[in-house]
Symmetry: C2
Subunit: 255 residues, 2 copies
DNA sequence: GTCCCCCGTTTGCTATTCGAGAACAACACT
DNA sequence: AGTGTTGTTCTCGAATAGCAAACGGGGGAC
């Protein structure tokens, strides 16, 4: 858990700060970035042209502005397609979306947060603020609780220590005890639930994908409270979801 | 067109070489990377821990191996969702995939190559080696020729100079003259065609998306030669494609 | 259980090189 | 033309990256 580098490479960190700033601003000029980050113009210029040379940044020679290139999407796409979970689960996610008509996500955990690996919209799917690659807290989402419920306790503790339990809606779980109780319930049930804990008006259910007793991700179905019934025992989405996960787990052994 | 940085930041370049190498290897240990890149162990270690601190690299503390993190997918996803073309075209791409049953792509040009922004698979869609973010040459693809056909001649020349016209199948266009003739034909027709020029057995059609007389991307439909007829005049996919592009172009003005 | 080897990490020191500042160049606007 | 703004180049001093070497620790062989 050595989060901090003992001997950070400061020059690299400057480049990374530039990338972060560019990502936030969308696009920017040399002077803007220099004053924003408290660096000299020449330094900014050297870093940007280096990043450009390697394809991470694109310069619009008309307006003299820089922006991040789609190389990030390229690298991200490669990383994603290399993942076994993705290969196996992706087609099933699409099927489930079609079948249920709702929004379906495949999520994996990285660095204590949940990352969307793919999403598929069914016929009536809600529009959400999620995009492929975006990160969410674990405690306030169905997929997060699905994954946490299968991780060792010390791992869960470490994740809470790292990211806390921020309240995002009135119903978000914000205490460690309540979360562990919920995880217990989740384990018994076999699937996790998010009842307006991340976004008001939104309900999600999620099931963990297991492989040799390790969780390797989760599948979630999201929809408006009006369509996703909170009588979980008789909820039709639950059975569809669990069927999908079962198929994925079986296929996983053939990779 | 200053491709090369005048004063490259060498330290940043080392970090980027590490990233490239990690991307290629999938995952690797310190020693492997050190010998592979001809760097000292401590240097590699410092760079990796710096990249890890900022979330670009993940260390598996079990096996002591490093790999690129999904942060690239995150950044890539943000960049993509910021693009206006994407916002407008994404839902229409899905519709077209459903309607046609084939594989549909949205592509934009960056640095002289075509980058896939999104893909949607119809019922009978072929399995291709493409992934979101991946790059292809322009001259050997339908979307590439669709975009090139609407770029100024000097721009096209520059792109050819930069990337050449490599032959990927027996039918790939490899001469500048033939390409310009083909672009002329494409312009007249309004859509571009790839008849096994990138992959044997695969035919694609593509139409440029225009906005104020600039091309901002292209939509393509790909399928096996058996299903995509090469009698372009009466091809049903062509009209579906053109209808889709028209809708996108109209919606584009309301962003 | 012990030894040994290998690999990741830390340290100290020096050569490298990054970057502030100033000068230069290229526009855009008045 | 003139002036203000912004990107780019240059030079040199100070910051620092990274080599070599030492340390530490985990795993395998026996």
């Amino acid at each position: 858990m050595t989060k901090r580098a003992k001997h950070p490479v400061r020059t690299t960190e400057k480049s990374l700060r530039l990338i972060a700033e560019l990502n936030q601003l969308g696009e920017a000029r040399v002077t803007t970035l220099a004053s924003e980050l408290g660096m000299g113009k020449s330094a900014v210029h050297n870093h940007l042209s280096t990043l450009e040379k390697h394809g991470y940044v694109v310069k619009d020679s008309e307006t003299k502005t820089y922006r991040l290139s789609l190389k990030f999407l390229d690298i991200g796409g490669q990383i994603r397609s290399q993942r076994d979970v993705y290969k196996v689960a992706e087609p099933k996610v699409e099927e489930l979306a079609e079948e249920s008509g709702e929004l379906v996500h495949l999520v994996v955990e990285e660095d204590g947060k949940g990352v969307y690996l793919c999403r598929s919209k069914g016929e009536r799917a809600v529009e959400l603020d999620t995009y492929i690659g975006c990160r969410h807290h674990m405690h306030s989402t169905a997929f997060g609780k699905a994954i946490l419920s299968r991780l060792p306790t010390d791992r869960v503790d470490a994740i809470i220590d790292q990211h806390g339990l921020p309240k995002v809606t009135p119903r978000t779980i914000t205490s460690r005890e309540a979360l562990f109780e919920e995880l217990e319930r989740t384990r018994e049930r076999g699937f996790a639930v998010d009842d307006e804990e991340r976004l008001e008006g939104l309900r999600c259910i999620a099931a963990p994908i297991k492989f040799d007793s390790d969780v390797i991700g989760a599948i979630s179905v999201s929809g408006p409270t009006a369509r996703i019934d909170d009588d979980w025992e008789s909820n039709e989405f639950v059975s569809e979801l669990q069927r999908t996960v079962n198929v994925i787990e079986l296929n996983k052994y053939n990779v």
